[in-house]
Subunit: 204 residues, 2 copies
């Protein structure tokens, strides 16, 4: 009997429906305005229905986050594909920064907001972020193998690179760069200059 299979499909379709609505709400109206009620409105169901498919808002946001990471990984594959490892490291940096600045709401959900991480067990690995991070790890590993950067520990290298990029982006997104007398384009220049300088500093 294919009924239970169809129901399984329906269930997944409904979840997809909810995720899409949430994602749209999120990127077009901002997180503040993406309430369960409004998401429910968008898909023309009652708010309570969402709780039949998701235990709470955090669980839903975790799935939306997964969607965001799919986009980032796709962009990584497209725009950071140079064969030469150090060149690719630079591309990864640029792609990451561009993604963050062009999609602040997504970046927020992926790397800044508390919410979708609340449900994650302390020991559990963060599946959503893992694939994207592996891109960095692989690249850093190749750089080390070819003696292109001043790191010998992969994790340390990948973590440092990520840390620098995230620091710059998140300070900007959360409006903390106002300690300097800079307008928007100057800030952008500063971010890119910082990254270029950093790459220079770790280059062997």
């Amino acid at each position: 009997m294919g009924i239970s299979e169809r129901k399984e499909r329906d269930k997944l379709e409904m979840r997809k429906n909810i995720i899409d609505a949430a994602m749209h709400m999120f990127t077009h109206e901002g997180y503040e305005n993406a309430s369960i009620r409004k998401i429910a409105d968008k898909i023309e169901y009652s708010p309570a229905t969402i709780y039949l498919y998701y235990k709470d808002k955090d669980e839903l946001l975790y799935d939306v986050q997964a969607e965001c990471f799919k986009k980032l990984v796709t962009i990584f594959k497209k725009d950071a594909s140079a064969a030469e490892p150090f060149t690719r490291l630079g591309q990864i940096f640029d792609t990451y920064v561009k993604f963050g600045l062009n999609n602040p709401e997504m970046y927020d959900l992926m790397f800044i907001m508390k919410s979708p991480m609340n449900n994650l067990d302390d020991k559990e690995i963060w599946k959503n972020g893992n694939e994207a991070f592996e891109h960095v790890v692989t690249c850093v590993q190749e750089c080390i193998d070819h003696q292109l950067i001043k790191f010998d520990n992969v994790w340390l290298g990948a973590f440092s690179v990520w840390g620098m990029a995230h620091g710059l982006i998140s300070l900007d997104i959360r409006c903390r760069i106002k300690v300097m007398h800079m307008d928007e384009s100057q800030i952008l220049d500063a971010i890119h200059a910082s990254i270029a300088t950093y790459l220079n500093h770790i280059k062997k």
Copy 2:
């Protein structure tokens, strides 16, 4: 007549009262549980009273943030006071990281949360953060003057240093380091190792 002066004092005292209660609530129960109602409860006034002294929650949090920065600057003066600039740069780094990891709620309010920055005009400078940042700037300037680091632009140097430190701390505070198979003490080691490595890389 000293009456209006006393009233001015009373007004300031009340604001101090509110700030202290908010700060306590914030650091002891976390931001999520620091509602206007609970802060009002703590100082034994009605919630509406707080709105006689602050236009909204953001404005209050901005003052609490100021208090947090006072603490950071005090610690900077105490624990990052080496005369030798590059040594001091390392101390600033360590102090900053230690402060962030020991006071995640304060760090959140100072550098991650959207809230207290909402009221700030786009062109307005961020007074709260400025003094602390000037510590970094001064130190980086001295490092450049003595040709101790591979930077020639002060702002770029200070911004990069800050970006790296902030990136590592905020990824940790917001539970994003779960991409690596690490327990808490390993993460701490990774953060310190990243900073030590970074300092090594920018050292001339």
